[in-house]
Subunit: 509 residues, 2 copies
Amino acid sequence: MTQTSRRRPKRKSRSAGQLAKLPWKTLQYRHAPFELLGSDAIESIHRAALSILQETGMLILSTTAREYFRAAGFDTSPDSELVRFDSELIESLVQQAPSSFNLQARNPAKNLKIGDGHAVFTSVGGPAYVMDLERGRRTGSYAEMCDFIRLVQSLDILHQEGGGGFEAMDLPAASRHLDLFYAECTLLDKNWVPWTMGREQALDAIEMAAISLGQTPDDLVETPALCGIINTNTPLQLDIPMAEGLITMAEHGQASAVTPFTLSGAMAPVTLAGALALQHAEAMAGIALTQIVRPGAPVLYGGFTSNVDMKSGSPAFGTPEYLQAAQASGQLARRLGVPLRSSNVNAANAPDAQSAYESCLSLWGAISGQANMIKHAAGWLHGGLTASLEKLIIDAEILQMVATSLEPFEVNADTLALDAIHEVGPGGHFFGSAHTMERYQSAFYAPLLSDWSNYETWLESGSIGTEQHANRIWKQLLREYEQPPLDPAIDEALLTYVAQRKQTIDKAN
Amino acid sequence: MTQTSRRRPKRKSRSAGQLAKLPWKTLQYRHAPFELLGSDAIESIHRAALSILQETGMLILSTTAREYFRAAGFDTSPDSELVRFDSELIESLVQQAPSSFNLQARNPAKNLKIGDGHAVFTSVGGPAYVMDLERGRRTGSYAEMCDFIRLVQSLDILHQEGGGGFEAMDLPAASRHLDLFYAECTLLDKNWVPWTMGREQALDAIEMAAISLGQTPDDLVETPALCGIINTNTPLQLDIPMAEGLITMAEHGQASAVTPFTLSGAMAPVTLAGALALQHAEAMAGIALTQIVRPGAPVLYGGFTSNVDMKSGSPAFGTPEYLQAAQASGQLARRLGVPLRSSNVNAANAPDAQSAYESCLSLWGAISGQANMIKHAAGWLHGGLTASLEKLIIDAEILQMVATSLEPFEVNADTLALDAIHEVGPGGHFFGSAHTMERYQSAFYAPLLSDWSNYETWLESGSIGTEQHANRIWKQLLREYEQPPLDPAIDEALLTYVAQRKQTIDKAN
């Protein structure tokens, strides 16, 4: 159960024993979701959101987006960027969004189903910095970013790569995304998240994803491969790059996760109900835009409501408020019939106990809220400013355990073991019984990271703490990484695309 | 919300600022519990347990207990310690157990309700060692044990003290329990867990609890004050001290938490269904014994099923199997209509990320399984061999957050904040709005331990990690501890009782 079928690494002598990575496994919720709020309360938040959209409206900074909204019948003005949203019209548009969709991966066995009770874990994306135990926090290079992507590929518990982990600061800003997409296309055989800050980035992602799959952008319309992360600019703004990214994705049949960053007490009301009403309003506006551009376009409802520490203004994550917001967001997304995107987040400064308990509370909220895509599922530190290599491994262990716990165990004559219990009898021991011997090798979850040795043994073997152990594991994973096979013609086509686009960008700059 | 109303400490100059301890608050489940298994599966486990009790039976090592079972009509033999349990008879006895009961505390505001959707957090009890950041792991003294009890008193999130934290190894083994009970009676005003290894210990606990409450043991029969932890000796044995402890508690109307330690793969079948069937059988036998001794006696169903690492034999805690067993145990306890005792456990060797994520998974199981008493809720390390002072604080933070997340937030016109959202408008900020200013001081959970400062600030202030911060907090709590008022006559009576009993014990040894 816990041993992977990966080929052994070539540099076998440096291997420190096979790591207990869970093999690729899709996740499914088999139980009723947790309903934190009553249906009346959910309805109140929904109606409040409709009222915000109708009465206050949103600033839509992109002319193209405003034009789409105007053409769909919404209240726009030539002198203003404000759009007001008729409630019936926006509800009817949101209803056109599908309850689930699929995303292609280069390895078809790793295609994703988003929605309808399925869940995927997506690695961290977006941080400015990278950090590890030896080198501390720093801006990352392209080579380091590629290593991070290799680690994400190695961990089968991560169903989707989340956008490079961190920025490659040694590359020119204007064309950096091309190098990221090339790395994502070639170092991974799983689905990956593109950058979609504006039309150019989104188009490049679509072109390169199509090349990597041996398809054309037109092929991808019916079988999407990409999901962009679209953040509204809370409160009640949609900026130009995000609007253009969303529109480009929808035009090409690709997905967006519309995610307002509603930080209660700062960019959102100090009350959780108000912050969620704002989240719900902005999410509906974004979802509606995807449906105007292409009815039936795949889209997720992004829930990212947390709060600030009112003393310092620092954002908090993995708190009771975060947990509750994640649970309520599940209810709100289900109210709309749209898949939910949630996150595994923390505000810790080191991959220590705080980072772990805040992450676990985030995941508790996401899983009990039945999120369908859990972004930043592994590697997020410093409130999202940093991708941590050790936290990546710590999170992978937590995710492996959470995934395993979602599969109910079997209850039947074999597993009830009445004969074995009778045979062992009072005061006996099950270690040597036939029932145990037949099953022990695959009986239980085997940890990737956790050390269960007793204290004396642990002291004797050098008191290796969890962070230090995680450090050894990512190094071993990196040594053992093998690039998934890629048709050299596809690699060539990707390189050609990148080179041509860089030329165009260089000329423009 | 997060500031306590405690009087300021006398040595004010040494205080490092007021700690954000949640005030005393009872916990209640307001939602349907998570049902991991279908009702057919639960019924199969229940029937398997009945079959184990009827066909295989249990070794009941105590003559008194066997006599109770024989008198109730169970199948015993004069030549053997084996008891076989008629299914109908044991089911009818278990049905007599109440679905909830109350436990008195010296401070009536801290009386506990056990069962019927209520939950209490109980501090660690049972470890042989104590550990902290500076002094490492060691056997503890009585003075250190008293400090541990003072910390438990200081943390209002802990509803019940769990049995001293660790053993006072500088005191004679035969009378050590008297010193523990004296400390529990005098340093706490909350409910405490006694040791109940045999009749003498249990009787001493009852006598001293009665004295501390200004009552008699007879008074306690209808208004119990004590709950003993009774472990069966898995598989299928009940040893003499535990049987006598249980019987003595039930005779005096006091509660027991009957807790089989069904370690899957070692003392229980390698399959979780089998381990739970064994747990359920042993728990039913213990629960039935309490009802034979005193129909309607308060009792809990203890769920403590985990598994061993099949490579090393080490017990594992806070794993997917543990989480699932806790959830299923909730279903099994509800099947019997008896309150559930669960635990917050981990197998880590340091209060680091592993200890935190294993604890969080344990708590996830306990809370989603709707446990009514969560033992070892704070301070457990090394698979239960050690009470850790830093882990006590880390767990208190986690418990405070979990408790807060169990209270749904309000959704009404005030909290939906439509006026504030309209007033702030697109692109604005809520920091200065009237809606925020009126509410910000008590808006959000304030952490006891977590550090949300940004990385630069954190580095500048010395990179204090979570464990080190926890170390500072327990020291501050200890400095600020104030003993709850106690009638000097009661103190005198307790001291006299202890002195007399020590004389008797000394003579006997």
